[in-house]
C-alpha cells in the first residue's frame, strides 16, 4: 500500500476525519452515560466513524492512525455485540484514542509520528484481557441466514482467505466477490486472460474459484478481489451486471438470527451486503444504509471552503460601500427615479449581505459540546461530581467568533470546575447537594449574543483578591480598599493574579484571566463577572453576532476620521461651550466630566493618538484652517492634501496664514505634548481643538462595567461599516481594531476603546477612587423620567419621553414630501408619516428658515411615525413633579420645569389620535374596546396616575385609582377588579410587594397584573416577573398599554 502523495486527498481525508472525531466525542460520552443499556444506533455511528477513518488512513498510508482506529473499532464492535459494557475506563481509552488520532491528523507532514503505544495498549488490554495482543478482525463465514437466497457457494472463499481479506481491508481496500460466467468459448477453468489483465490493473485478485457443483449453466467463476474502487465503478469496469458484484463487508450489525459470536475465535464476522446499484452508497459511507444514519440528518450542512466565503464577504462589503456612495449621490439630487433605484439597491444589498453572513453563522453548540468532555475528564480527575447543563446551543454566531471563543470559554469552564465547584464533602458540609451544577447558556439579547457560565460553587473571595493584589504591589492600598465588590472582581483580569490557593495541574498558575479577557475583547466580547461567596459565580460574556459588518459612529479629530463600534458606545454627550468650565473638571492630571451626578474620566482622542495640532477654526468662516507654520516642520503633514478636500477644510495651498493666537496655542500644545493630559487645556480654552468657543463632544464608551469619555472634535454619522484587517506592521498597535473604507473611498481606522484606555493608563480602579459617591451614582431612581428636549422656537421648550422614541434623524427640508395634504418622507424603504406638534397643539410652528430639521421617529403599533422639530437640545432626567393641568391640551400631556424653563411634554398618542384617527381604530384602541370591565391603577405620582386613569377610561374601562400598594389592596377588597396596572416604585408598599401579596391571595391569584415603569431594564423586569407580574410596560406608551390590557381582557 503505497503512500499516496496527494495533498488534496490527504486534506479532504483530514477534514472528513475531523468531522467524524467531533461527533465521536459527544457520542462516546452519551454511550458512557447509558452504560450497559447501550444505544445500538449510537454505537454503530461511532463504529462507522472509526471505520471510515481507518479506511482512509490505510489508503493514505497513515499507519499509526490506521492501527489506532482499528483497535478502537474492534473495541466498539465488542460493545456493539454486548460483549463489553462501556464503563468509564473503556470510554476513557476510546476517548484517548480519538484524541491521539486527532493529534496524529494534525501533525504536519513529515513530522515524527507520535507514540501511540500507550493508548493502543490500553485499548488492546480491554479487548483481550488474557493476551495483550490485539485480535485482528478476522473474517469468518457469514451467517447464511442473513442473506437468504444468495448463492453461498463462494462463502468458502472468504473462510479460506480470511487472513488476506483482513490484511487488505486494513489497507483500506474494499473486498469484493466477482461472479464471472465461464463463457462457453473459454474452456479452461478460471478467467479469460483479458478479464484477468483488466481487473488486475485496478486491484488484486486474492483467489479464484470455479463452482463445478453449481447446476447453473454456464458455471460461474468466483473471484475474490481487493480494490480501492467503489462498487459502482467496479461494476462498470469489470463489465459485470451489478448483481454479480458482491461487496464483502465487515459485518455492520449482527443479524438477529445469528448466535452471539462470543465463543468464536474470530469476533468480527463478515457479512455480505447485497445492494442494488441505485442504493449503493459511496464506500466511505459504509453502512449508511443502516437505520441510524437516515435520521441523523447531518447531510443538511455543506462544507464550504473558507476562502470562498471570505471572498463572498469581501464582495458583499464592496456592495455595501457602493451603496453608501450611491446614497450620497441620491441625497444631493432630486430625481424621483433615483429614489426608487436606491431603495431597491439598498434592499438587495442588505439581503445579499444577510444571506452571505448566514453562511458563516454556526451554532455555538459546536463548542458547547466539547465541554461535556472537558467537564467529565476534569471532574473525574479532581474527584468532583458535576452536572453540566448546556442551554442555547442552537444560538448562531459568526464562525470567527465561535473559533475565537473556544479557548477563553474552555479556560473559564476549567476554572469553574477546578476552583469554582467544591469537593462533594465540602458541598455537603455547606448544606449543598454533593453534585455541583455548571450551567452554560447562550441566548440573544439586544442584538448581541450572551454567554453565561454559572456555577453553584464557592464563589470568589474578594478578600483574597485584595490580599493578592496588595502582595503584588501594583496597586495602592487606599485604592484597593475603596473598591466596590464588582471592581475587586474585575481585578482577576490583572496579569499574574490567581486566587487559587495552590497551583494545580488544571489551573491556578495565574496566567489566564487576563489572556481570556484580551482574547474576548479581540472579537468584540465584553466580559463581566459576578460572584457571591459560598453561592457561586456567574460569568457573562456579551458578543457581537458578527465581526464583518458592524454599526459604528464616525467621529473626527482634525481632518482625520475614525469609527467607534456602536457596541462599545454608551451615549453621546455634548457640553455646550458655556458649560465646559462648569461640567468638566480636572482632578490631578486627569479630566473628568460630571454626568448625572457621577464623575466620568475623559480621554482626548487627539492625545491618545498623538495627533498634533495643525488646525484652528476661523472665527468668521467657521472653517478649519491649517496652521502653516507647523506644516513645514511636520513631516507627516504630507498626508494633508488627501484629507483637505473633504468637508469644509481649506487646503494647505490656500495661503492661510496662522493668526498669532494659534501660534501661541501651538507653542503651548507642543510643549505639553509629552504629558498625556494636554487635554486638560480644554478647560482654559487654550487647546480646544476648534476654538475656545466651541462645544466639547464626548463619546461615552464602555469597557465592561467601566465607562469613560472620549473627546472628539466632531460626531459625523452613524454607518454600517465593513471591517477590514490591518497590515502586519499595524497589528501590534493596541489602539486600532481594524480599518474600514468609507463611501468616498477613503480609509478610516476603527478605534479599540479597550486598547485606548489601556494605553492611556485608565482603569476602573484608578478613577473610581476619586468618585466621591459611588453609592449614590449607582442608584437609578426608577421613577425618574428621561426626556428628550426639543424646540421649534427659541422661546418654547418641548419634551418627548425618550423611551417612547426609536430614533432621531436629521433630514433636509426638501426630503419632506407633501402628499394628500400630509407630510411624509421616504424612510428605510417605507413611507414615514411626519407630524409637527403645532398641527395638533397650540405651540410655535417649525422654524421656516433652516434647511434641515430633525425627525423624532417613534413606533405606534406595527407602524412608525415621525415628529418634526427644529432643534434637539438635550436629554435630561427629571424626577420632579409633572404638572398635568396647567398646560394640558390636545397633543400635550402636561408640563415640567426643566433648566428653569417650563417645558411642555408632548403626547405622542394624542398627536397620532388627532392626525391619524384611523390608526387608533385599526389598533382597536378606540372607546369601543373596553366593555366596562374594572381596572385598578396603582400609581403614586399624581401625574402618571391621572395619565394612566385617563387613557384607560378613554378605552372604555372603569378605573379605580390607588396611590400605593396599601390603598390598592384595600380597593381590591371592596371592588371586583378584572386587571391591575401598577407602578413599581411607591411609598408605603411598592409594586413588587403589592404584586406578591395579590398573588399570595387565592381570590386574586389569577388576576392579570401589568407593571408600568418609567424606564425599562431587564433586571427590573426579571424581578417583576419573579414577583408575579404578567407584563412589564413603559408608563407613557399608551398604545402598548391599552393593547396589552385588551389582550388580557379578551375572553
Amino acid at each position: 500500500m503505497a503512500f499516496i502523495d496527494d495533498d488534496e486527498t490527504l486534506q479532504s481525508f483530514k477534514d472528513e476525519s475531523h468531522e467524524h472525531l467531533e461527533g465521536i466525542e459527544s457520542d462516546l460520552l452519551a454511550i458512557e452515560e447509558a452504560g450497559a443499556d447501550i444505544d445500538l444506533e449510537l454505537v454503530n455511528k461511532v463504529f462507522r466513524a472509526m471505520h471510515s477513518i481507518k479506511g482512509g488512513a490505510g489508503f493514505l498510508g497513515l499507519n499509526a492512525v490506521k492501527t489506532l482506529s482499528h483497535a478502537a473499532e474492534n473495541l466498539l464492535n465488542k460493545i456493539r455485540n454486548k460483549e463489553l459494557v462501556p464503563t468509564t475506563p473503556v470510554i476513557s481509552s476510546l476517548l484517548d484514542a480519538a484524541d491521539l488520532v486527532n493529534r496524529l491528523l494534525n501533525q504536519p507532514k513529515g513530522a515524527v509520528e507520535l507514540d501511540i503505544s500507550g493508548p493502543l495498549a490500553a485499548l488492546n488490554s480491554i479487548l483481550s484481557p488474557e493476551s495483550d495482543q490485539a485480535a485482528p478482525p478476522d473474517v469468518s463465514p457469514a451467517n447464511k441466514a442473513d442473506t437468504p437466497g444468495q448463492p453461498a457457494s463462494w462463502q468458502g472463499l472468504l473462510t479460506e482467505h480470511s487472513a488476506e481479506i483482513t490484511d487488505n481491508r486494513m489497507g483500506g481496500f474494499g473486498i469484493y466477490v466477482l461472479e464471472f460466467e465461464r463463457s462457453s468459448d473459454v474452456e479452461q477453468p478460471g478467467l479469460s486472460p483479458t478479464i484477468q489483465t483488466t481487473i488486475e490493473s485496478i486491484g488484486q485478485i486474492l483467489a479464484i474459484q470455479t463452482d463445478d457443483s453449481s447446476a447453473a449453466s454456464p458455471q460461474p467463476t468466483y473471484v475474490l478481489y481487493a480494490t480501492m474502487m467503489e462498487r459502482d465503478m467496479l461494476v462498470s469496469f469489470a463489465g459485470l451486471p451489478p448483481e454479480r458484484v458482491h461487496e464483502i463487508r465487515e459485518q455492520a450489525e449482527p443479524a438477529p438470527a445469528s448466535p452471539a459470536p462470543t465463543v468464536e475465535p474470530n469476533p468480527i464476522p463478515a457479512t455480505v451486503a447485497e445492494e442494488s446499484p441505485s442504493t449503493s452508497p459511496p464506500r466511505k459511507n459504509v453502512a449508511a444504509d443502516s437505520a441510524g444514519q437516515a435520521k441523523a440528518g447531518t447531510d443538511s450542512s455543506l462544507r464550504v471552503n473558507i476562502k470562498i466565503l471570505d471572498n463572498l464577504m469581501t464582495l458583499a462589503g464592496e456592495l455595501v460601500l457602493t451603496r453608501n456612495q450611491f446614497l450620497q449621490i441620491v441625497h444631493s439630487s432630486h430625481q424621483q427615479i433615483f429614489d426608487a433605484v436606491s431603495q431597491r439597491f439598498d434592499l438587495v444589498t442588505s439581503e445579499l449581505q444577510e444571506a452571505i453572513m448566514s453562511t458563516r453563522m454556526q451554532p455555538v453548540g459546536n463548542i458547547f459540546n466539547k465541554f461535556k468532555r472537558v467537564v467529565r475528564d476534569l471532574a473525574h480527575k479532581l474527584g468532583k461530581e458535576i452536572d453540566l447543563v448546556l442551554e442555547g446551543g442552537e444560538v448562531e454566531m459568526d464562525k470567527t467568533i465561535i473559533e475565537a471563543l473556544n479557548d477563553p470559554l474552555t479556560h473559564l469552564v476549567r476554572n469553574s470546575v477546578d476552583h469554582g465547584i467544591e469537593m462533594p464533602d465540602m458541598r455537603t458540609a455547606a448544606g449543598k447537594t454533593p453534585c455541583g451544577t455548571l450551567q452554560i447558556k447562550a441566548f440573544h439579547e439586544g442584538g448581541q449574543v450572551i454567554i453565561e457560565i454559572e456555577d453553584d460553587g464557592g464563589g470568589i473571595d474578594t478578600n483574597r483578591i485584595k490580599e493578592k493584589v496588595l502582595s503584588m504591589g501594583t496597586h495602592d492600598k487606599s485604592v484597593i480598599e475603596a473598591m466596590q465588590e464588582h471592581e475587586l472582581l474585575r481585578l482577576i483580569f490583572l496579569p499574574g493574579l490567581s486566587t487559587a490557593k495552590e497551583v494545580t495541574e488544571v489551573s491556578g498558575r495565574g496566567v489566564g484571566m487576563d489572556v481570556v479577557n484580551a482574547n474576548l475583547s479581540k472579537v468584540g466580547g465584553v466580559f463581566d463577572i459576578a460572584s457571591k461567596l459560598g453561592k457561586g459565580t456567574t460569568i457573562t460574556i456579551k458578543l457581537p453576532l458578527t465581526l464583518a459588518i458592524i454599526p459604528s459612529l464616525i467621529v473626527s479629530v482634525g481632518t482625520e476620521r475614525y469609527a467607534i463600534p456602536q457596541v462599545n458606545m454608551v451615549e453621546l454627550v455634548r457640553v455646550p461651550a458655556s458649560k465646559v468650565k462648569q461640567r468638566i473638571e480636572r482632578i490631578d492630571e486627569a479630566l473628568v466630566i460630571r454626568l448625572r451626578g457621577r464623575l466620568l474620566p475623559l480621554i482626548s482622542l487627539a492625545d491618545a493618538l498623538g495627533i498634533e495640532k495643525r488646525f484652528y477654526q476661523d472665527r468668521k468662516t467657521k472653517q478649519l484652517k491649517v496652521c502653516r507654520r507647523q506644516l513645514i516642520e511636520d513631516r507627516r503633514s504630507l498626508t494633508l492634501p488627501s484629507g483637505a478636500d473633504s468637508d469644509n477644510l481649506t487646503s494647505a495651498g490656500n495661503g492661510v496664514t496662522a493668526v498669532s493666537e494659534v501660534n501661541r496655542e501651538n507653542h503651548e500644545s507642543s510643549e505639553r505634548r509629552t504629558t498625556p493630559n494636554s487635554a486638560a487645556n480644554i478647560l482654559d480654552g487654550t487647546d480646544r481643538r476648534t476654538s475656545p468657543q466651541s462645544a466639547v463632544n464626548i463619546v461615552v464608551v464602555s469597557v465592561g462595567k467601566f465607562h469613560y469619555g472620549l473627546i472628539v472634535d466632531k460626531l459625523l454619522d452613524s454607518e454600517e461599516i465593513v471591517v477590514k484587517p490591518l497590515g502586519s506592521h499595524l497589528r501590534q498597535s493596541q489602539l486600532y481594531a481594524g480599518a474600514t473604507i468609507q463611501g468616498d473611498g477613503k480609509v478610516a481606522l476603527i478605534l479599540d476603546v479597550v486598547g485606548i484606555s489601556k494605553f492611556m493608563n485608565l482603569s476602573s480602579g484608578s478613577v473610581r477612587v476619586r468618585d466621591g459617591g459611588p453609592q449614590e451614582t449607582e442608584r437609578i431612581n426608577p421613577d425618574a423620567q428621561t426626556l428628550l428636549l426639543v424646540r421649534n422656537s427659541p422661546k418654547e421648550q418641548l419634551a418627548i419621553p425618550l423611551n417612547l422614541i426609536s430614533r432621531i434623524e436629521e433630514i433636509q427640508r426638501d426630503q419632506v414630501e407633501l402628499t394628500g395634504g400630509r407630510s411624509n418622507m421616504q424612510y428605510r424603504g417605507l413611507t414615514l408619516p411626519l407630524f409637527s406638534i403645532s398641527e395638533v397643539a397650540k405651540v410655535a410652528p417649525l422654524q421656516e428658515d433652516s434647511s434641515s430639521l430633525y425627525v423624532v421617529v417613534f413606533p405606534f403599533g406595527e407602524r412608525e411615525a415621525g415628529i418634526m422639530v427644529s432643534e434637539i437640545i438635550d436629554i435630561v432626567t427629571v424626577i420632579g413633579v409633572l404638572d398635568d393641568t396647567t398646560h394640558k391640551q390636545p397633543g400635550i400631556m402636561g408640563s415640567v420645569i426643566i433648566m428653569k424653563r417650563i417645558t411642555m411634554i408632548v403626547d405622542l398618542f394624542g398627536i397620532v389620535a388627532a392626525m391619524m384617527p384611523e390608526w387608533i381604530r385599526h389598533t382597536s384602541l378606540g372607546t369601543e374596546s373596553g366593555r366596562g370591565q374594572h381596572i385598578l391603577v396603582v400609581e403614586d405620582s399624581p401625574f402618571f396616575n391621572r395619565q394612566l386613569c385617563g387613557f384607560v377610561s378613554d378605552a372604555g374601562y372603569k378605573v379605580f385609582s390607588a396611590a400605593d400598594g396599601v390603598e390598592g389592596l384595600a380597593l381590591l377588597e371592596r371592588e371586583k377588579i378584572d386587571l391591575i396596572l401598577t407602578d413599581i416604585e411607591m411609598p408605603n408598599m411598592d409594586g413588587l410587594e403589592f404584586t406578591a401579596r395579590v398573588r399570595a391571595d387565592a381570590r386574586w391569584s389569577g388576576l392579570p397584573i401589568i407593571a408600568v415603569t418609567s424606564l425599562s431594564s431587564e433586571a427590573a423586569e426579571k424581578r417583576g416577573r419573579k414577583a408575579g407580574v404578567n407584563e412589564y410596560m413603559i408608563k407613557l406608551d399608551r398604545e402598548k398599554v391599552i393593547h396589552t390590557i385588551n389582550r388580557y381582557l379578551k375572553h
Partner: protein, 151 residues
C-alpha cells in the same frame, strides 16, 4: 531571489526608483503595481516609517515611507510621490518612493555585494549593487526592509 521566468537565468529585471539621493532597484517579480496620487490615511502611534494606510481596491494596505526607513529627510510637502505595491508573504505593502524611473535588465555578473553601509543606510536592506553606466543601483532586500520590528 528568483529570476523572472521570462528572463535568462543570469538576468533579472529591476524596477528603478529614487528615494532621497539613492537610486534603488527592486526585482520586478515583487512589484504588483505602481500608483500615484492615492490618498494616504495617517495612522498614529505606530512605527514612524509607517506613513499610513491606503485603500487598494478594497484592501487596506500599509504604506512604508522609504525615506524615513532609510533615515533621509522627508520630501518637501508639495512633491509628488509614488507608491510601489509589493507583495510580501500574503500581504501587499506600499513603498512610498520619490519617483519610479525605469525598468532595466540586469546581468547577474554586474551585481556586486553591498558594502556594510550605503550612504548612511544599513547594508542589510540591500541585496547587492548593480552598476549602470553612469550610476549605481542599490537592489532592495524587501524581506529585510519590511521585517517587522516588535518593540
Amino acid at each position: 531571489m528568483q529570476p523572472s521566468p521570462t528572463a535568462n537565468a543570469t538576468k533579472r529585471k529591476l524596477a528603478l526608483f529614487e528615494s532621497g539621493h539613492l537610486l534603488c532597484g527592486l526585482d520586478i517579480i515583487h512589484v504588483q503595481e505602481i500608483n500615484k496620487n492615492i490618498a494616504v490615511t495617517a495612522v498614529h502611534r505606530v512605527p514612524e516609517y509607517v506613513r499610513g494606510v491606503i485603500n487598494l481596491r478594497g484592501e487596506i494596505v500599509t504604506v512604508v515611507d522609504l525615506r524615513t526607513k532609510f533615515g533621509f529627510a522627508p520630501l518637501s510637502q508639495e512633491a509628488e510621490e509614488q507608491i510601489i505595491i509589493v507583495r510580501l508573504g500574503d500581504e501587499n505593502i506600499g513603498l512610498l518612493v520619490d519617483s519610479v524611473s525605469d525598468v532595466v535588465i540586469a546581468d547577474e555578473k554586474d551585481i556586486e555585494p553591498t558594502p556594510p553601509n550605503l550612504a548612511g543606510v544599513p547594508g542589510h536592506f540591500f541585496k547587492g549593487i548593480y552598476k549602470l553606466e553612469q550610476s549605481l543601483v542599490a537592489i532592495l532586500n524587501i524581506e529585510e526592509l519590511l521585517a517587522r520590528e516588535f518593540e
